[in-house]
C-alpha cells in the first residue's frame, strides 16, 4: 500500500501466490516496514487458515533439567550436582498430571526435558507408557528431534526404531524444539553436544515417513545472522515440500538471562519478534500453522502477533519451567478464559485443539 521498488515486487509475488526466494527473505529482514510486513503476512494467514486461532489446554512436563548437552543459550539445563537440579520420578510425573487434570478441559501433555547423562531410553520410555496408561484421554506430544537423536545414540537403536517404540508407548506427536538455527556454524558455537542440523532434519523426516506429525521451530536473536534465519526457514520449507509432515512452526526469541550469553547478547525487540513472525509466515508457504508462543513473546506481543501471520497461541501450560529459568516475565500459566479473551479481542475465533499442535 505504501511501499516502493523491491518491496512492491515482493508484495506482488505474495499476492499472486508465488514462492519467495532466499534473496526476498533477506530483503524482508532488512526492511523496516513493520506494519506493511504484518499486513502481507496477515493476507497469507487469512488465505491459508482463515479466522480461527488455535489454542490448547495443556500441561508441560519437564522430566529433568539435568543435561549432558549444556547449550550456551539454555538457562534450564544443569549438572547433576548443581543447585536446583532435579529429576522426576514416575510418581512425580503422575502427581503433576493428576493435579493438572483437575481442569476437565485438559487435553494434552507436552513433555520435553534435559538429556540426562545416566537415564536410559527405556527410562524415558517408561514415563510415556505410564502416563499414557494412567491418562489415556490425553494427547502426548513429546521429545524434540534432539532428544530423539539422543535416544538413538544411547540405545544403539536407529532413529526409526526409537520413534516406533515411542509411538507404541503412546506418543502421538514430536515437539518442535531443538531446531535452534539449522546451520553447523551456529550449532558448533552454541550447542555442539547435541544433534546436528542434518540429524535434527533426519529425525523429522523419519517421523513424517512413519506418519508421526512434528512441529518445527527457530530460536533466533543470539549469534545467528539474518541470512542464517532465512537459510533455516528455507531448510524447513524444503523438507516440508518433501514430506508435508510439519504441522506448526514456532518462533522462539532467545531470552539471554541466566545463560552463558547473558553478558554479550541483548534480548530481541518486539519489533524484531513481530517481523520474524511475519517473515516466517511469508517464507513458510507450505506450513499450515504458525504459533505465537506467549511465554517467550509475552502476552501483549503474542496477541498482536495474531495479525502478523500467527494462527495459534499455544496453551494454558499449567506451569512453565524452561523459559522462566531464563527470566521470562510472562505468567507461568494462563487460564482458558484469558486465552479466549485475548483471541476474541483480536477479532478472531478461538478454537481449542486436541493438544497435538
Amino acid at each position: 500500500m505504501f511501499v516502493r521498488g523491491e518491496l512492491e515486487r515482493i508484495e506482488r509475488k505474495v499476492f499472486s501466490g508465488e514462492r519467495l526466494t532466499r534473496e526476498d527473505g533477506e530483503l524482508l529482514f532488512a526492511c523496516k516496514e513493520l506494519s506493511w510486513l504484518g499486513a502481507l503476512a496477515d493476507y497469507v494467514r487469512k488465505k491459508v487458515c482463515g479466522e480461527r486461532v488455535y489454542y490448547n489446554v495443556n500441561c508441560h512436563v519437564n522430566l529433568t533439567n539435568i543435561c549432558a548437552a549444556r547449550c550456551k543459550f539454555c538457562a534450564f539445563g544443569r549438572g547433576e550436582d548443581d543447585k536446583g537440579a532435579y529429576a522426576m520420578t514416575i510418581d512425580d510425573a503422575i502427581k503433576l498430571v493428576t493435579e493438572a487434570s483437575c481442569d476437565p478441559h485438559l487435553t494434552g501433555l507436552h513433555i520435553v526435558s534435559g538429556l540426562h547423562p545416566t537415564w536410559s531410553f527405556e527410562h524415558y520410555l517408561s514415563f510415556v507408557e505410564t502416563l499414557h496408561e494412567k491418562f489415556p484421554r490425553l494427547h502426548i506430544k513429546g521429545f524434540t528431534g534432539v532428544e530423539v537423536q539422543h535416544f538413538a545414540n544411547i540405545s544403539g537403536l536407529s532413529v526409526e526404531e526409537v520413534l516406533l517404540r515411542l509411538k507404541s508407548a503412546g506418543l502421538e506427536t514430536i515437539a518442535g524444539g531443538g531446531a535452534e538455527i539449522l546451520t553447523d556454524r551456529v550449532r558448533n558455537l552454541l550447542c555442539s553436544k547435541k544433534a546436528t542440523a542434518d540429524e535434527w532434519l533426519n529425525v523429522a523426516r523419519t517421523a513424517h515417513k512413519l506418519a508421526i506429525k512434528t512441529n518445527a521451530s527457530m530460536l533466533y536473536g543470539h549469534i545467528e545472522t539474518l541470512a542464517e534465519r532465512v537459510e533455516h526457514l528455507i531448510k524447513l520449507r524444503t523438507l516440508q515440500d518433501e514430506t508435508g509432515g510439519f504441522q506448526t512452526f514456532i518462533c522462539f526469541p532467545f531470552l539471554p538471562k541466566n545463560t552463558a550469553l547473558e553478558k554479550t547478547i541483548k534480548q530481541t525487540t518486539m519489533w524484531d519478534d513481530l517481523k520474524t513472525m511475519a517473515i516466517s509466515r511469508l517464507m513458510l508457504d507450505n506450513f499450515p500453522n504458525i504459533k505465537a508462543y506467549w511465554v517467550m513473546l509475552t502476552v501483549p506481543v503474542a496477541q498482536v502477533a495474531l495479525s502478523f501471520g500467527a494462527n495459534d497461541i499455544d496453551g494454558t501450560i499449567h506451569r512453565e519451567n524452561i523459559l522462566h529459568d531464563a527470566g521470562a516475565t510472562s505468567p507461568r500459566a494462563l487460564t482458558e478464559d484469558e486465552i479466549i479473551k485475548i483471541i476474541r479481542e483480536a477479532g478472531r475465533v478461538p478454537c481449542v485443539t486436541g493438544g497435538n499442535q
Binding site: S35, Q303, S307
Partner: protein
Amino acid sequence: MNCLQRAKEKISSGARLERDDILALYEDNDLLYLAEAARHVKESKTGKKVFYTVNRHINLTNVCKANCPLCAYQCKSGSNRAFTLELDDVAKILSQVPSPQSLSEIHIVSSLHPTKDFAYYLDAVKLVKKILPHVGINAFTPVEVVNFSQISGQSVAAVLSELIGAGVTSLAGGGAEILSDRVREIICPKKCSAAQWLEVMRTAHRLGLRTNASMMFGHVETIAERVDHLLTLRKLQDETGGFVAMMLFPFHPANTELGKTFDLRGVGSWENLKMLALSRLTLDNFAHFKAFWVMLTLPIAQLALSFGADDLDGTLGEEKIIHAAGAKSSTAITRETLEKIISEVGYQPVERDSFYNEV
C-alpha cells in the same frame, strides 16, 4: 459503496473521517490496515523524526477531595500513603536532579488537595521557575485549573493568567478521561464536567497557553463514546489550534474502586494499538501523538511507533500515579535507551522541548 469502503477511500485521498467512518473502521478490526494508514499520516506530519524529552515529573500531593473511582493514586488525608510536598521538599527534589542543564521540562500534576490554597500551587511553580529558569513547566490539568478557580473564587481566565505569570508554559492534557457526562458520573463524579474541561482548554488557548489532550479508555465507556470524545477534541482543535500533542491512556484497573466494582481487566495490546492508530487517523489536526512508555511498557511503546505515534515522552524521574495502579514499567529511563529504541526501528531520535522545538 458501503461505509467501510468509503472510510478507506477517504483515508487514501486524505479526506477527513466522520463518525460513521471511524465506527466502521473500529468494527472492521483490521489492525495492520489501521497501522499502515496511521504511520503514513505520522510520516506526512513529522517524517522520520520521533521525539522524546528529558523531563522530570513532580506530583505535589496525592491527598484528594475528588476520590475518583478510576484512580489508584489518590487517597484521603490521614491515609498511611498520604504525602504532600512543601516548598522545601520541592526544592530538595530539584536540587537532586542529576544534570539540570540538560533538563527541558518539568511536569507537575497532582491531586485536588482538600485544604491547600491556590497560592500553594502558584508558589510551587514560582520555585521551579526560580531554580530552573531555562526549563519549560508543563503543569496542571484542566481538572486542577477548575479546582483552583473554585478555591480561589477567581475566573478560569484569571487563574490561567496567574499560572502563566508564575511560570507555567503549557497545560497538561490529563483529566479528560472520556468527555461524556454519563461516563464521568460513573468514573469521576466529583471532577469537572466535560464542558468545563473543554472551556479551560479553550480559554488557555485563547490566552496563548498551549496544552496537550488525552483520552482514558477501556473502562465503562462505549466505543461510540470514544469516537465522540475524539471528535470533540478535533472540533476544539479546529477552533483554536492550541493542542500540541495527544495521548491515550489505557485504563489500569489494579487497585482502583472502578476496577473492582465493574470487574475490569484492562484492554489488551491489540485494543491499545488499534485505538492509537484510529485516533491518529481521526485527529487529523493534531501534529503529535505520544506513546507514553510508562503506561504502555517500553516494548509496546516501541511498537506504537509503527501505529502512528511520534513521541515517546520523557526520561522521567519517579512516576507515581500510574505505578499506583500497577504499571510494571520502571520509573525512569536514560536518554541512551530512548534513542536506541527509536533508532532500532528506523526512525530518527530528536530531543524536544514542550513545544516540539529541537533542543
